[in-house]
Amino acid sequence: MPESATTTPGPAAEGPREDTPLLEVRGVTKAFGSGRRRLTALDGVDIEVGRGTTLGLVGESGCGKSTLARVLLGLERPDAGTVRFDGTDPFALRGKELLAWRRRVQMVFQDPFASLNARMSAADLIGEPWRTHRDVVPGAGAREKRIRELLDLVGLRAGDAHRYPNEFSGGQRQRIGIARALALDPDLVVCDEPVSALDLSVQAQVLNVLSDLRTRLGVTYVFISHDLSVVRHISDRVTVMYLGKVVEHGETDEVFETPRHPYTAALMSAAPVLHPGGGSRREEIQLRGEIPSPFDIPSGCRFRTRCPRAEEQCASEAPPAAARGTADGGEPHTALCHFPLAAGSSWA
């Protein structure tokens, strides 16, 4: 990968291998613990992210999003399945090649408090990756300048460079995490709830920066967020997960406007909407039942214990993973369901 050695990021949208997605994940499975306490956090997950595009990843708390993110970063080795980044398996890389790959893939961690070393100043934290990847920004002067630029990008001040994590507010720490992830000019950034602690205005500023990097440099994102309006704004495609499985995938507007999987429909309906000046809100589909135990996943379709459309078949047979329906442009829109909602049909 010659391009990984240069200071400019890898191929933009019109790169030479445009036809292959930048990231391809097939059948990834990951379990924690053993015996009765074995918990399958990911169960045969497939995702695909095209160069310079953004994939939104949504799903109930505990469904495996952060675990998947850690697999994408090579921080967690899957029990089964494959990860392909630009055609190569990152888990097979060693030495120099592994280092070069690590530079290209960065993460904004979900927990801005726990993920920052309390003994390092903001400048140290942002510049730390350059100690390993020396050629990205060579020279002390250039580094100092770059740190100022990165702080400015995320709405912090040059004067903040010498402060320590405990001297920042929650949202300010989250932004240090973002600046740090951008320090190596990565090709892929996995953002795990990157703007959850930010007020709307600062959130808008950060999202605008991310979009701008995509347009200018072709950066690719996997964007995990529970905030559906943010996901809708930033993503080209959306993948919905439930209890370790992908249950729906499609082009963003398609998924938001005509969700096919009953879980997606419920998720969309539960999003609080702001109507300045009061007024009624959308009908919420309240899911009945408890979130099933990840130690004891229901037979057949794993959503059946809470699904208002469930029928006998749902308990006996796992729904086929095959694509159900395509959007107008021919883009696949898949739902892991025996009885998906038809486009435009009403609930249940």
Binding site: S61, G62, G159, R175, S196, S201, L228, A271
Partner: protein, 337 residues
């Protein structure tokens, strides 16, 4: 003990929490700066007050002052914090400890660091019952499992034995909430309690808070940047900017017709009909550095209505309609815009 205390004469009209003119100063290498500057608000039992404002404006610091858990670099230098009429700033540490849990409780913003990494979560959640209710280890454990069920942790019995790192981000946040509401406090301060939660779980937590509020007539201070949650859940709102309160009043009225230019800018940032790829609206500029807060209005550098008087004179909160106030010299002009 709180459940049995008979209602005293003042109960009906004494707010559960009353913060008056709170000032917090920070010592930094470049001198002392004021992070919270004269913040006042009060919450009655059974009511929810939302604290809104830009990242870094002093919300968490206000919350931590109320519960007496400020960072050593920070100190309360003025004002009063009254819980059920008693000034907590003048209490001894022992008196404060008795308050923490059954009377006043907080959900911290940082879910992971607030949990003890080397103790099973069931034990941590059960702890308040052992300390304040003198329950046995087994009874406390049952209480913990009950609470874990209420915040929607699947298989609570089994997972009570797990350690914090074995839970997802949103689950840890729910564990903290379980711990904070364990003893059904009179006043609950929740600092971004649902930021890491998907909407269905968020709705569940908000229902739990509402149920507790109904059962126990709890007063809630909700710190969140999620305006939709504020609109749905809160009765009143306090909007902060650079350590000061710039506007307050009933949520409905404030959201329908803000009386401070910052509040209006914030409401205008809602990405409602945003088009993908198009920049989102943001309030241009950034807040003043704490060491260089201007003499006049704190919002002057970013305010579209700014004029000469704003630079000269700091606006004080003025009545701005029924139960409302705003700290802007020209708040009336927003009415017409």
């Amino acid at each position: 003990m709180t459940t049995t205390s008979p209602p005293t004469r003042s109960d009906a009209d004494t707010p559960a929490l009353d913060v008056e003119g709170l000032c917090v100063e920070l010592s930094t290498p470049s001198g002392t700066v004021r992070a919270v500057d004269g913040v006042s608000f009060s919450v009655r039992r059974g009511r929810t007050l939302a604290l809104l404002g830009e990242s870094g404006c002093g919300k968490s610091m206000t919350a931590l002052s109320v519960v007496g858990l400020l960072d050593p670099a920070a100190a309360v230098t003025g004002g009063a914090v009254r819980v059920r009429g008693d000034d907590t700033l003048r209490m001894s540490p022992a008196q404060r400890r008795r308050l923490a849990g059954p009377v006043l409780s907080i959900v911290f913003q940082d879910a992971l660091t607030a949990l003890n990494p080397v103790q099973p979560v069931g034990r941590q959640i059960g702890e308040p019952f052992r300390i304040h209710r003198r329950l046995s280890r087994r009874q406390a454990r049952e209480k913990a499992i009950e609470l874990m069920t209420r915040v929607g942790i699947p298989e609570p019995r089994q997972r009570a034995r797990s350690y914090p790192h074995q839970f997802s981000g949103g689950m840890r946040q729910r564990l903290l909430i379980a711990m904070a509401v364990a003893l059904a406090p009179d006043v609950l301060i929740a600092d971004e309690p649902t930021t890491a939660l998907d909407v269905t779980v968020q709705a569940q937590i908000m229902r739990l808070l509402r149920d507790l509020q109904d059962e126990r007539d709890m007063a809630v201070v909700l710190i969140t940047h999620d305006l939709a949650v504020v609109a749905q859940r809160a009765d009143d709102v306090v909007v902060m900017y650079a350590g000061t309160v710039v506007e307050n009043g009933p949520v409905r009225d404030v959201f329908a017709a803000p009386r401070h230019p910052y509040t209006r800018g914030l409401l205008d940032s809602v990405p409602e009909d945003s088009v993908r790829g198009r920049p989102l609206p943001a309030v241009p500029g950034s807040p003043p550095e704490l060491s260089a807060v201007p003499a006049g209005c704190v919002f002057q550098a970013r305010c579209p209505l700014v004029r000469e008087r704003c630079v000269r004179e700091r606006p004080v909160p003025r009545p701005a309609g029924e139960g409302r106030s705003a700290a802007c010299h020209f708040s009336e002009e927003l009415d017409r815009a």
